[in-house]
């Protein structure tokens, strides 16, 4: 039944009492009000729900809340420093990376994870990682532009 789980979200310690197999996505959105992370498929196929778990990109929809106990989660809301956007966010803004924008938070978080792991990744490698993400507006050319802008910053 319900258990109490503590984890860090965007630098703040959070404690929730909930069913251990609830998806991290639901807890972020429903319990913590962090709706920037999106549901797209519920099975890790579209990656709209990508967040950072200990700095690595995971699909929050297939991450059970029990597995994040005492770990650090970062969501799109925790990226900008006040009014200053994270360089990846700024690149998506400048590169017109959003049409409807529903895939944007997931793509941004994936790219942040890639850049965290290696500051100068090869473009092909980055595109392969982003290749897991869906954009149904098929704004891929502008997304590629936004990714390239991110790599230059």
């Amino acid at each position: 039944m319900d258990t109490t789980i503590s984890f860090e979200v965007n630098g703040e310690l959070k404690t929730v009492t909930t069913h251990p197999s609830r998806p991290l996505l639901d807890v972020l959105r429903e319990d913590l009000g962090l709706t920037g992370t999106k549901y797209g498929c519920g099975e890790g196929q579209c990656r709209a729900c990508t967040v950072l778990l200990e700095g690595k990109a995971v699909a929050a929809c297939v991450t059970q809340i029990a597995t994040v106990e005492n770990k650090k989660v970062r969501t799109i809301e925790g990226l900008a420093g006040g009014d200053t956007l994270h360089p990846v966010q700024q690149a998506f803004l400048d590169g017109a990376g959003s049409q409807c924008g529903y895939c944007t938070p997931g793509m941004v978080m994936e790219l942040v994870a890639v850049l965290n792991a290696s500051p100068n990744p090869a473009e092909a490698e980055v595109l392969a990682r982003l290749g897991r993400h869906l954009c149904r507006c098929c704004n891929y050319p502008n997304l590629k532009r936004s990714i390239r802008l991110s790599l230059r910053r």
């Binding site: 999106k38 549901y39 099975e43 956007l85 409807c100 982003l130 149904r136």
Partner: protein, 715 residues
């Protein structure tokens, strides 16, 4: 609330202008129905009589528009300028475009305009956001309203200053008197009683809008006004909305299409803490404090549900089914004499499967009741249509229903209905609290409507000079959009025959124009081959429309068509296609490679030329063209709904593959700007040339004619 007496019909709302309707779900929650209840074990067993299930409803849109200046614009005493529109933003760029349109005519910066979209309590009814109609209809309406406000500003200033109005001009949101240097702004307008009265008058249809040559804002790229909120996650999509005390809804779905609920035990779900269970006719749903709990409750209900099944054709039986159910039978070719006189006759069938729009944000709605007044916030392309749908379902007057549409996560013609709003509202009424209902991906793949499948039959005759002498084109089931051939043929007839498609059907980006262009442009290629002509030359020999010739010739030239077609390389092929729909013109040239091991088609290069009159926003127009092309690659090459025994077999992104980064070929997109022509929409037509150009390229590469979408070669 806007003044309802301001309303009048505009061409934007003429349901007759639509060739295809959407299959509606006929909810009726207004009347008490006789449900016969008895006990089963410890639980409450409800047994239902069989209801009427899905039936078709024709027509769409409906409603009226408000032509007074104040119904379109509001000038605040704080200087804030608000523009109202019934259009929605689902990623296509209407918010930026309509903001541009208002700013241009008001002579203010884009940032000075706040656009309120699709809140039925505030905005005029601009019709459904579909059919590429925002650009040709709503942009002019907004421009006229804004131009009328600008003229009024000049009028009031000239009266106050007794200055000849011809001396006065609006710049940066204010009229300046060149003599005295006095200034009168939109902010002053708000405080002027005469102005307030005049603003409530109808917009003079003859008001002068800014000529293209003088555009300062229109014609230039304008980024999305709310782009910052999209990259920070601050924007609230319909599925992100939250209210105090809100519950999360979930609906019990039948295990198969057409299945009827004959009995269910509600008790186990009712015993769950915090769960509200609703059973009303065939509708069974729950509302719970979390999605997780709602799902658990639905799973408990599903275990006890008893269903009566009906037989349902599978995707393998699709085309036989469509032909068999063609309404009035399959009509004969009306040109038997021309056929018998023809030098050559070709006759082929083309098939197009069912596909889903699969917007990244599934349908979502938040419903709130306040006594007998209902507010529903949801992702839909049809706010006023949804208001009617809700009013009908709950037997309410339309003014008791408010529909609000936050900018949402993609529509593509797939969100013309409000079923998720009706479901949320039914749950909220029972719960006595706001309810948010968010469809899952599986529900979206199964219970949203599909792009209709098509069986297309074409027969054409060629004369001794190698020109088309007669043409008979039948679209069975999928629709009449783009069905008329743009080619010159002395005897021609193109018609759409309705059938009984086995799945719920509705609109999709470009409607049936994609299927009709696929069949026509592939068949034109076959005809060209039959007379050993270059497909480009053959088309041009039958084309008079200068705008279509222009895009085709430009594309062929940019692509280097003539050389590449003649210089055939092993494993590679080139193909082209063109067409016109909704007032715009498109041509595409494509190169494909056939991967020899698995006979897989790889699209390597697409050159597309598009013309939609005067371009309002070059960057967004290009994005729409790119989006159309890449989205179109899905149904062209791989998307197909599989169904059997009334069940969708591939209701997930894992089993229903849509285009990803890796699928994007080299793109050469060229927009032909025609500032001398009225702007029309760009979000649909660019999709229609993609599939036929690929199929034609596959023939060029492999010698195999693939007459079905998705285009696949046997492995």
């Amino acid at each position: 609330m806007k003044n309802k007496s301001d309303c009048a019909m505009t061409p934007d709302h003429d349901p007759a202008a639509w060739s295809e309707g959407v299959d509606a779900v006929p909810f009726d929650f207004g009347l008490k129905r006789r449900a016969f209840v008895h006990l089963l074990g410890t639980g409450l067993m409800v047994v239902f009589s069989a209801p009427a299930l899905a039936q078709r409803s024709g027509g769409r849109g409906g409603g009226a528009s408000a032509p007074s200046i104040s119904s379109r614009l509001h000038f605040g005493k704080d200087g804030v300028i608000t523009v109202f529109t019934g259009k929605v933003e689902g990623g296509q760029g209407a918010r930026a475009e309509l903001t541009q349109a208002a700013a241009e005519e008001l002579r203010v910066e884009v940032a000075a305009v706040r656009l309120v979209m699709a809140d039925t309590a505030q905005v005029p009814n601009d019709g459904i956001t579909a059919g590429s109609r925002t650009t040709p209809f709503t942009v002019p309406a907004v421009r006229q309203g804004a131009a009328a406000a600008r003229e009024l500003l000049i009028e009031i200033a000239s009266r106050q200053w007794t200055t000849d109005r011809d001396q006065l001009k609006v710049q940066a949101g204010a009229v300046k008197d060149p003599v005295s240097g006095r200034s009168f702004s939109y902010r002053d307008l708000a405080a002027n009683d005469i102005a307030v009265r005049l603003l409530s008058q109808p917009v003079n249809a003859g008001v002068q809008v800014t000529p293209v040559a003088d555009w300062k804002i229109l014609g230039k790229s304008t980024p999305r006004p709310n782009r910052r909120d999209l990259v920070t996650g601050a924007h609230r999509f319909p599925s992100d909305l939250v209210r105090p005390g809100m519950l999360y809804g979930k609906v019990l779905r039948p295990p198969a299409f057409g299945a009827t609920l004959t009995g269910i035990d509600l008790a186990p779900a009712r015993a769950m803490k915090g769960v509200v269970v609703v059973a009303d006719g065939q509708f069974v749903g729950v509302a719970a404090p979390t999605v997780f709990q709602a799902r658990a409750a639905i799973e408990a209900l599903a275990e006890t549900a008893r269903w009566e099944y009906v037989s349902h054709p599978s995707h393998q039986e699709l085309y036989g089914h469509l032909e068999k159910h063609a309404q009035g039978g399959v009509p004969a070719n009306p040109f038997p004499d021309e056929i018998s006189r023809a030098r050559k006759v070709l006759r082929e069938d083309y098939h197009v499967v069912y596909v889903q729009h699969a917007p990244l944000e599934p349908r979502a709605a938040l419903a709130e009741w306040e006594k007998e007044t209902l507010t529903v916030s949801l992702g839909t392309q049809n706010p006023f249509g949804c208001r009617s749908e809700l009013a009908r379902a709950f037997h309410l007057a339309e003014d008791k229903v408010r529909v609000v549409v936050p900018d949402f996560g993609g529509g593509f013609g797939g969100k013309h209905t409000g079923e998720v709003g009706v479901e949320a509202a039914r749950l909220a009424r029972a719960a006595g609290r706001p309810v948010s209902l968010r469809w899952t991906r599986r529900e979206e793949f199964t219970w949203a409507y599909f792009r209709p499948a098509a069986l297309i039959r074409i027969e054409a005759g060629l004369d001794e000079t190698g020109k088309l002498s007669c043409w008979h084109f039948l679209n069975i089931n999928s629709g009449g959009a783009g069905i008329e051939t743009p080619y010159q043929v002395p005897h021609q007839r193109s018609r759409f025959v309705r059938s009984q498609g086995p799945l719920r059907e509705g609109s999709y980006r470009a409607l049936a124009a994609t299927a009709n262009h696929f069949a026509r442009e592939c068949f034109m290629d076959e005809l060209a081959a039959a007379v050993a002509a270059d497909p480009l030359t053959f088309r041009l020999a039958h084309l008079q429309e200068p705008r279509l010739r222009a895009v085709l010739e430009t594309a062929a030239q940019r692509f280097g068509w003539t050389d590449r077609f003649a210089r055939k390389q092993p494993g590679l092929g080139v193909g082209l296609a063109c067409g016109t729909e909704k007032g715009s013109f498109v041509a595409a040239c494509v190169e494909v490679a056939i991967e020899p091991k698995e006979n897989r088609i790889q699209v390597r290069h697409i050159c597309e030329v598009f013309e939609c009159g005067a371009i309002l926003d070059p960057d967004n127009t290009r994005s729409q063209v790119e989006g159309c092309i890449i989205m179109g690659l899905g149904p062209a090459l791989q998307e197909e709904m599989m169904f059997e025994n009334g069940e969708i077999k591939n209701a997930s992104f894992q089993r229903y593959r849509v285009p990803r980064f890796v699928d994007v070929p080299e793109l050469d997109i060229h927009l032909l700007n025609r500032p001398d022509l009225s702007p029309v929409g760009a979000g649909e037509t660019p999709i229609v040339a993609v599939a036929p150009a690929i199929a034609n390229a596959v023939f060029h590469a492999s010698g195999v004619r693939v007459r079905s979408m998705p285009i696949r070669l046997p492995a």
